[in-house]
Symmetry: C2
Subunit: 420 residues, 2 copies
């Protein structure tokens, strides 16, 4: 069987199962999710054993310790996978929700109703927990999933998939409800992305290179969860104590995540009052600053000069680019030009400036007087999410269960025909 | 200037203008739309003159009379363009609508708010009214538009664009608010579809070949308004008088549109009671029937045999494929396999069958006891539309003003930082 056929078979099976999923009850899905959680627990030894194999390969390949850390499963991490599935089972089922309902003059009743999307392919990198997290969310939202993880986590991902699959089979779900692509052929992703007749949506989860490659090649709609180059703009009317706390939190509390601040913009009239103390606080916390000319001047040469590239960088580390700006207008322009349309904040007591910032910053989440670190399905009260969409079509910002659905119109008549 | 540069310049200008559009009031947009309507009227002679040139070219090229009919502008058609702009001005502005608003326990207020998408490219074929219809809808929803019509309507489209542009300029809108690509270079569309840094969405409007080409090449998200292979399934529990009226209406009232019925499915237990009269009615109306073996048998050899290709055909004409099916299950499978996920109907008095059909048919609009001909933004009460999306992501079914928007989250704090 060629690679093409192999992948087409998986995708076709998924498409067939998708029809079954359209008429399945919430109870049946939730029971199956609880079975999956139990199965993860039951298969723990097998999963850890498979993970050990991956870890040995990774070590012999000399992969980085950060990579190995992300790849490593433990009792605790497996328990977290299990707990996530239980939590997803408890979330409200979005499928079937009537979003709108109205009558038209000829007596037709129209309902706009949430439905599953169909078949979703997830292309991801090293963390094996993505396998169960994504499978759980897709399953709950009535979608069939095709998983394609990184080759370095192949054994771990397959063991997790097997645990989930056993539970799905046991619960009476069809074969194609949960699928995994395990071929080591590196062309598998490119071939998969051509199957637009069977797959409705692709979600890449991983680094920039992976996302760009998927977006470039895919004939299937892609929702990108791209990098987070998040800004905080300290306005001339900012409460500077509040600004200090917010900026410090957004940079330091957890620098390795996509909603951490990567670039701080300061109004020129606030810079002299704000920056000396702020920069000292960052320095004490081990944050490396890369600033514009004015920042350097205020810091008396204590900071490195930021390059153009710095302002476009997602450091995911204790590094921060800083720029003093002329006014709100320059701040907004800079954010729209250099940012990644993820999360950006203004600190200000001026309502007019806040309103302009909220309107004009073209990002998924725009904050006034709060840390960007809150961009997260859980923090927003939306439940577990599959990622933060930096795209504008279909889903923007935290992509939770509702964003894994589409809608259709149901029209109820009693013989209406069109005359005009 | 190379083609690439020329297109990038247009797209960049549009992107810049898109920021301006984010903070423009409904009043200003509506006034500009009324100016556009007046400008279309004022420039009528210039538009008709340009159209004459296109018509002469088309005739000398020997293009079909159907093509020439679609290309032809008249006083009446120009007045319709004008009226459409006035109607769009009167529609409710979707931008700024608060879709949801909630508080989270830490005191943050979150608003999910409708915003413009940004820059939308419309790739279309012969009808010149698409120029003003699409420009009006994009403008009203706060989006900047890049128009690329067919080369055979170049002069007409450009004259319409100029009338709109004058009004936009006069109303103080920036240069990039409305744009047209007029190069005759046939690579223009392919190059335009690479500009994903500036263009947020592409909507192709035209035949199958155009849509497939755009979907294949584009690096920008595409929403397809694909063909309508619409079905009506006459269930064993159908009121056969109602079924006759609905099927006749869906096929005959206006066969050249995407929501007309192209394929009729009949339950085997209804076929003998239903088909003879129905087929006679169709025959009297000049409808050519292409049927399955059983249909042929019931029609006593009076109808042609349907091929596999027939069941996948959008005739847009007085032709109908007919199939007798075993049961509801076969009907649903056939529709999901052969249809185009546009509009499909069941005629039945059985509530359980109706419910199953509504759930399991994977189409944008699913009807019970009504003609598929109602799938239309105006009929649905949604106002003017840019087309009927047969895609599942972002917009499905009639794509009116709301579907030309996206959303963002606005988060209002008073110093919140994240601790856990």
């Amino acid at each position: 069987m060629t690679l093409k056929q192999e992948l087409a078979n998986i995708a076709k099976k998924a498409k067939n199962a998708a029809r079954f999923m359209l008429s399945i009850s919430s109870e049946a899905k939730n029971q199956a999710l609880m079975e999956m959680a139990a199965s993860i627990e039951k298969e723990k030894e097998a999963i850890l054993k498979a993970n050990k194999k991956d870890l040995e390969n990774a070590k012999s390949k000399g992969l980085s310790s950060a990579f190995i850390e992300r790849l490593t499963l433990s009792d605790k991490r497996i328990d977290e996978m299990k707990q996530s599935l239980i939590e997803v089972a408890k979330l409200r089922d979005p499928v079937g929700e009537v979003l709108k309902e109205w009558l038209v003059p000829n007596g037709l009743k129209i309902q706009k109703v949430r439905t599953p999307i169909g078949v979703i392919a997830i292309i991801y990198e090293s963390r094996p927990n993505v396998t169960s997290d994504c499978a759980g969310l897709c399953f709950k939202s009535g979608n069939c999933v095709i998983l394609r993880g990184g080759s370095d986590a192949l054994n771990s991902n397959f063991a997790i998939y097997q645990a989930l699959k056993k539970a799905s089979d046991k619960s009476g779900f069809p074969e194609g409800a949960i699928n995994i692509v395990t071929t080591v052929n590196r062309r598998a992703v490119d071939e998969l992305l051509k199957l637009n007749n069977y797959i409705d949506l692709v979600i890449p989860r991983g680094g920039e290179a992976l996302i760009e490659q998927v977006a470039k090649v895919s004939r299937i709609p892609v929702i990108k969860h791209y990098k987070g180059i998040c800004h905080i703009y300290v306005d001339e009317y900012a409460d500077l104590n509040m600004a200090t706390d917010i900026c410090f939190n957004a940079k330091v509390q957890r620098p390795g995540v996509c909603n951490a601040m990567e670039s701080m913009l300061v109004h020129k009239d606030a810079a002299i009052r704000f920056l000396p103390l702020m920069l000292k606080k960052f320095k004490d916390a081990g944050v490396e600053i890369r600033g514009c000319k004015m920042t350097q001047k205020i810091a008396k040469g204590q900071v490195k000069r930021a390059t153009e590239k710095d302002y476009r960088s997602e450091y995911l580390d204790l590094i921060l680019s800083v720029k003093v700006v002329e006014d709100l207008n320059e701040a907004v322009s800079h954010i729209n030009e250099y940012g990644s349309h993820h999360s950006d904040a203004i600190v200000t007591d001026n309502e007019e400036n806040a309103a302009r910032f909220l309107k004009e910053v073209d990002s998924a989440c725009v904050y006034v007087n709060a840390s960007t670190r809150f961009t997260d399905g859980g923090q927003f009260g939306m439940g577990a999410e599959i990622g933060i969409s930096t795209d504008k079509l279909h889903a923007r910002g935290p992509m939770a269960l509702e964003e894994l659905t589409t809608y259709k119109y149901l029209i109820f008549g009693n013989g209406q025909i069109r005359t005009g």
